[in-house]
Amino acid sequence: MKLKYFAWVRERVGLAEEDVDAPAGVATVAELVDWLRGRGPDYERAFAAGPAIRAAIDKRHAKPDASIAGAGEIAFFPPMTGG
């Protein structure tokens, strides 16, 4: 699946997007975040804010317990500050 990062999540990860294959057993947004945090200090720092980081699956907001099965694109970003 494709992962996209925005705003300070993007800055901390150091990438705007990447393709990953999450291991079996990573079934939800929260589990994906836990797996990402284990990939290195940049990810750990990016996701240290935990629940403050929002996610979207295929361009729709998704809660931490949302299933990522079949997802094509998952985005992570801080709370939104548009308008």
Binding site: K4, F6, A7, W8, A56, K59, R60, H61, A75, F77, P78, P79, M80, T81, G82, G83
Partner: protein, 152 residues
């Protein structure tokens, strides 16, 4: 019903004139234009805001918010324009316009659209000041404003 994302400034008056022209059944037009202030949230003079966005989702999310407004209120038309990129103090950032037969509907729908847009449209502001650039923190008051519209 239109949702438009653009980097260039827009003219609210011209947008609204175009939208409301020849609409015999429209008795009310409510517009909200959000402008870039000349101060950062910490009070420092602001040089510019830089708006980052998630283009495909921003378009889809604003269309969903607009569809939700139409489901709740009998709107004749609505327009959402949101800019991205570098925005200077005094320039417009966002425009919401609602057209309906009566004012109560147009006022409520415009307020709903803005409240939802603030908390769910994927845009992020960065403030550019003499001290450098920094991300704007989300405000609890915006969450509370959106929350009051939630259904049971």
């Amino acid at each position: 019903m239109t949702v438009r994302l653009q980097s260039e400034p827009f003219d609210s008056g011209a947008e609204v004139a175009r939208l409301s022209e020849g609409r015999a059944g429209v008795g009310a037009v409510v517009t909200f234009t959000g402008l870039c202030r000349d101060r950062a949230d910490n009070g420092a003079p602001l040089e510019a805001l830089i708006l980052e966005h998630y283009p495909e989702m921003a378009q889809a999310e604003l269309e969903r918010i607009e569809a939700e407004a139409r489901a709740r209120w009998p709107l004749v038309d609505a327009l959402l324009v949101h800019r991205y990129g570098r925005i200077r103090p005094g320039e417009p950032i966002v425009l919401v316009a609602t057209l309906s037969a009566h004012r109560a509907t147009a006022f409520a729908a415009a307020e709903f659209l803005m409240d939802y847009l603030k908390t769910s449209a994927p845009f992020w502001k960065q403030e550019e000041t003499a001290a450098g650039t920094g991300w704007v923190a989300a405000k609890d008051a915006d969450d509370a404003a959106a929350e009051r519209w939630s259904r049971g």
